[in-house]
């Protein structure tokens, strides 16, 4: 077992041998909610600067926070989806530090007693197996505002729209061992959050951000000293940052140095990490329980209600797709990563009176559709071909109206024009020819035109059979039923 694992394990070769990378993630996920964690101000993205700021968010004198029930329930739902322990009593603390975009001078967060305890995320591996990554905790906290440094030559501007928006900080255990695994973890976490609608997972807009903890060690050794790379905002950058950081640490260790525990920044332009502040310079946040807020006490009955109301989650859906539709675990994982994709696929499969083959449908979705969308740079939501339309195409294929080859052309046409398959087949006369007489006439003509080749074939050159099939199909405009063409050719050439 161990050998198999190590054969597959991600290792970085240094001068002194192979190194293992140990990664843990802190993901900040912006909670989907209408208003902020402790105020009534709106959370919509993209508003004019400082248009969504309440007196509480601006930390006016005498203002007090009041917890937003919806944000709490979103955190509980997320905890449940991560198979985690929900803490019926949790406490909000103040994390004190000065910065211009932090109006209160402290962030309200949860330090000692978070709302959600240990849980697990199951990663989908290439071979269909899964790997469990531990969740250490999930806590609720306020986001800070935004400093705009590019608006004035010597001053920074502050936008407080984001100030006070609810974040879930989801902390993994140091269970990740490669950049790819880390990417898979983020994708899976995002998939879960999007399934249950607690975070939109949009890394570009900053609604999901990662702090990456990286350390290296010789396989079998204890944990090394880690560095924390702050605020990495794409999966690709996370992978790059890990690779760079691991190599940097290996170089230091191999040249006899030691790793300083510190906070680092990832410079995406240069593809490298840079020191931000060392442990000595680390803030003393002076956490203490926020006296403006009572401990958060959850009603177990409400937790049970929220649990019962959770939608089918990616892992369950994947298992169901595999068993119900006979898909490979890999295909099932691909189709269920996004809830919208899985929904789309199921519309295809469940339409057509149950005659549509789920495996063929899966192929169409994962190869033809995804390929076309990818090429066109479109999301599934913007697909010119609807699930019903793809189902229609499959039905024409299934009842022999068109051939597989024609179907691909029809699909391309559908994708381009948005028309349905039946219309295209009708307009272009692409209906498969299954009339024996008509096909026989074509076969006869092909054989007559290529008598020399017929002789060669009969003389033993079997490979020419494909040539005759090709010629026949070509002459039929691709519409001849390929099975019948084969049969007729075999019969006539044998004669």
């Amino acid at each position: 077992m161990a050998e198999q694992d190590s054969a597959q394990a991600y290792r970085i070769q240094g001068e002194t041998g192979a190194w293992e990378v140990v990664i843990g993630l802190e993901v900040h996920a912006q909670v989907v909610s209408k208003s902020k964690l402790f105020s009534g101000a709106s959370t919509t993205f993209g508003a004019e600067p400082n248009a969504q700021v309440s007196l509480v968010d601006a930390a006016m004198p005498g203002m007090l926070p009041v917890i937003n029930r919806q944000c709490v329930e979103q955190a509980v739902r997320t905890g449940l989806a991560l198979e985690a322990r929900i803490n019926e009593v949790s406490v909000f603390d103040r994390k004190n530090y000065f910065y211009a975009d932090l109006p209160q001078g402290y962030q309200i967060s949860q330090f000692q007693q978070p709302i959600v305890g240990e849980g697990v995320v199951h990663l989908d591996l290439e071979d269909g197996r899964t790997r469990a990554v531990g969740i250490e905790r999930l806590h609720l906290e306020q986001d800070a505002g935004k400093s705009l440094h590019d608006q004035h030559p010597s001053k920074s501007y502050i936008d407080l729209n984001r100030s006070g928006v609810a974040l879930m900080e989801i902390v993994s255990k140091p269970d990740l061992r490669s950049p790819e695994e880390t990417a898979a973890y983020i994708r899976k976490l995002r998939s879960i959050l999007r399934y249950i609608g607690t975070c939109d997972g949009n890394m570009q807009e900053g609604s999901m951000r990662c702090d990456v903890n990286v350390s290296v060690r010789k396989p079998g050794d204890g944990l090394g000293t880690r560095c924390e790379i702050k605020n990495v905002n794409s999966i690709r950058f996370v992978q790059q940052a890990i690779e760079y950081e691991a190599r940097r640490q290996i170089e230091i260790l191999e040249s006899g140095g030691s790793i300083d525990q510190e906070t680092r920044l990832f410079d995406a332009n240069r593809g490298e990490t840079r020191s931000m502040r060392s442990k000595e310079e680390a803030h003393d946040y002076r956490y203490f329980p926020d006296p403006d807020l009572l401990p958060l006490v959850l009603d177990p009955a409400r937790i049970a209600e929220l649990k019962a109301a959770l939608p089918e989650l990616p892992d369950a859906r994947k298992a169901r797709f595999a068993s119900e539709y006979g898909l490979s675990l890999y295909d099932a994982a691909t189709l269920t990563e996004e809830r919208a994709t899985a929904d789309w696929y199921e519309v295809v499969v469940k339409g057509g009176g149950g005659r549509r083959d789920p495996k063929i449908a899966a192929n169409w979705v994962t190869s033809e559709l995804f390929g076309a969308l990818n090429k066109a740079g479109l999301d599934l939501a913007d697909s010119p071909v609807s699930a019903d339309a793809l189902g229609g195409l499959m039905d024409l294929l299934g009842d022999g109206t068109i051939s597989g080859r024609i179907a691909k052309d029809v699909f391309a046409e559908m994708f381009e024009t948005g028309k349905d398959a039946a219309t295209i087949v009708e307009e272009k006369g692409l209906r498969q020819v299954s009339d024996t007489g008509a096909i026989e006439a074509i076969v006869d003509a092909v054989l007559a035109e290529n008598q020399d080749k017929v002789a060669e074939y009969r003389g033993g050159k079997d490979k020419l059979f494909g040539f005759f099939v090709g010629q026949t199909m070509k002459r039929s405009g691709g519409k001849a039923n390929p099975g019948m063409v084969n049969e007729l050719l075999k019969a006539k050439l044998a004669g």
Partner: protein, 493 residues
């Protein structure tokens, strides 16, 4: 006109309802009195125009037999309550020019009940002090003078010193205060008036500039127990905007005031008998016990064993919370800004200039006790002791209905006397802070004069949310004490 100022809050209310006087007359008399007592420095801002407009509106309602329970009654507001469109300073330089766009819940309730706003009263900066001397706007002055020493100006106590001075000097019919460690009761005791701190959570903290969130509580300063009860009724009530406000109905605090203490058990805590307690304070306390006994109460010796730790505990927890609460005064969004070459420098310049010495001392103390390596030794330990203190009181109130103790260990001292010794100043709060740590209600009632002819208060403490019972005991004490002395400055007013 002089007689009109002689009316206390309840009497003025009755006179207004009977149309014997108008709110405009009453309010004008107070505005004139405020002008006449400028040297008390009781007010930071006087809102004369607003007062007269509110009085006129009240008169219209009273004319029609309408109006709220406080209709037409002119009161003063401690300048820690945010008041819409009226400068709110917290007596700090750092809030220069700050005019809230919002009204604190407590003051909004008072105006809804018909009260008329005279202005904003002086206080220790951010309510941090026991003498009103830390105010950026200069000390408020006690209307009282020691016998034979008319020249020495005395402190009115603090932090609600301006409110106490205004009420005692008749420059307000009553006033709001806040009590974090004794800031209502101690100045009430020093100025010969009644001051009450309700249970934590009884009044909303929304819109009150925060000092120490887990200890701050608004309450009334007034001439009589009945006045305090009336004003408290206008201030109290659950507020969904304050997560720590109690979701409880507000009883009629004025009902049952005269029911007496017959059959009630009054506790006398032995730990309050501290070393070096002046004999006259001890004597007054003993007198108070006798009064209540004579009124039919049963006197019970009780123990509150953790009392000796209350003061140090308070001076850890309060500064810790303050250090965080005051972080928002950074020069970025409102108030004073003193520029610098960098953000950090701007912060340092603004906060260095904007905060006075006592506020800076407490921010430093609070930052220290919360910092890594010291948190367990100070803040965490203080929280544990706080729990023990609360338990002391819980256990005591299983045996007694109320507790009687002195309000302060001394009478009012001269301005400047304790300035150089913060710890000596902090000792003023020794009898008042335990209650704040326990979250309980307490009231100071004027009970006698010191040898120097200055008022002394006795303090009644009660169980959580039992303000009505507390007021009843306080009223019995008030009746027995029959404190009628007035500061010399009121002669002929």
């Amino acid at each position: 006109m002089a007689g009109i100022l002689d009316l206390d809050l309840v009497a003025a209310r009755d006179a207004l309802r009977a149309r014997e006087i108008s709110s405009t007359e009453l309010t004008s008399a107070y505005l004139a009195r405020i002008e006449a007592t400028r040297d008390l420095n009781a007010y930071i801002t006087v809102t004369a125009d607003k007062a007269l407009a509110m009085a006129a509106a009240s008169d219209e309602k009273l004319e029609k037999g309408e109006g709220g329970p406080l209709e037409g009654l002119p009161i003063a507001v401690k300048d820690l309550f945010c008041t819409e469109g009226v400068p709110t300073t917290a007596a700090s330089h750092i809030l220069d020019g700050f005019e809230p766009t919002y009204e604190s819940t407590v003051t909004a309730k008072l105006w809804d009940a018909g009260a008329v706003m005279l202005g904003k009263t002086n206080l220790d900066e951010f309510a941090m002090g026991s003498s009103n001397e830390t105010s950026y706007y200069g000390p408020a002055v006690n209307p009282w003078r020691a016998t034979g020493d008319a020249d020495t100006r005395l402190v009115p106590g603090g932090s609600s010193g301006g409110s106490a001075a205004a009420v005692a000097g008749w420059a307000a019919l009553a006033a709001t205060g806040t009590d974090t460690g004794g800031s209502i009761r101690q100045p009430a005791g020093f100025t010969g008036i009644v001051g009450m701190r309700p249970s934590y959570g009884r009044c909303s903290r929304w819109g009150i500039v925060a000092f120490a969130s887990s200890l701050d509580q608004a309450g009334p300063l007034a001439r009589t127990v009945a006045d305090a009860a009336l004003l408290l009724s206008g201030m109290a009530g659950h507020d969904p905007k304050d997560s720590t406000s109690a979701p409880l109905p507000v009883p009629d605090f004025s009902a049952g005031l005269e029911d007496g203490v017959k059959g009630l058990r009054i506790g006398v805590p032995r730990e309050f008998r501290i070393d070096g307690m002046p004999a006259e304070i001890a004597a007054l306390w003993a007198q108070g016990v006798e009064w209540l006994k004579d009124a039919g109460a049963e006197i019970v010796d009780i123990s509150l064993p953790h009392t000796p730790y209350a003061l140090p505990t308070y001076y850890i927890i309060a500064p810790a919370e303050a250090s965080s609460n005051l972080a928002r005064y950074d020069g970025v969004r409102y108030g004073l800004r003193v520029d610098g070459d960098s953000l950090a420098e701007m912060y340092a310049n603004t906060r260095g200039e904007g905060f006075g010495a006592e506020v800076q001392r407490r921010i430093l103390t609070g930052t220290y006790v919360l910092s890594a390596g010291y948190y367990d030794a100070y803040y965490r330990k203080a929280q544990r002791v706080r729990t023990l203190i609360r338990r002391d009181y819980d256990q005591a109130f299983e045996k007694v209905d109320a507790i009687l103790a002195p309000t302060s260990p001394s009478d009012a001292f001269p301005i400047g006397a304790n300035e150089s010794d913060p710890v000596k100043m902090y000792l003023n709060d020794v009898f008042t802070v335990p209650l704040n740590l326990a979250g309980l209600p307490g009231i100071s009632v004027p009970a006698g004069l010191s040898a120097r002819g200055l008022p002394l208060g006795l303090q009644v403490m009660g169980p959580m949310f039992e303000e009505a019972k507390l007021l009843r005991v306080a009223r019995a004490l008030e009746r027995a004490a029959a404190f009628t002395a007035r500061p010399a400055m009121l002669e002929g007013v």
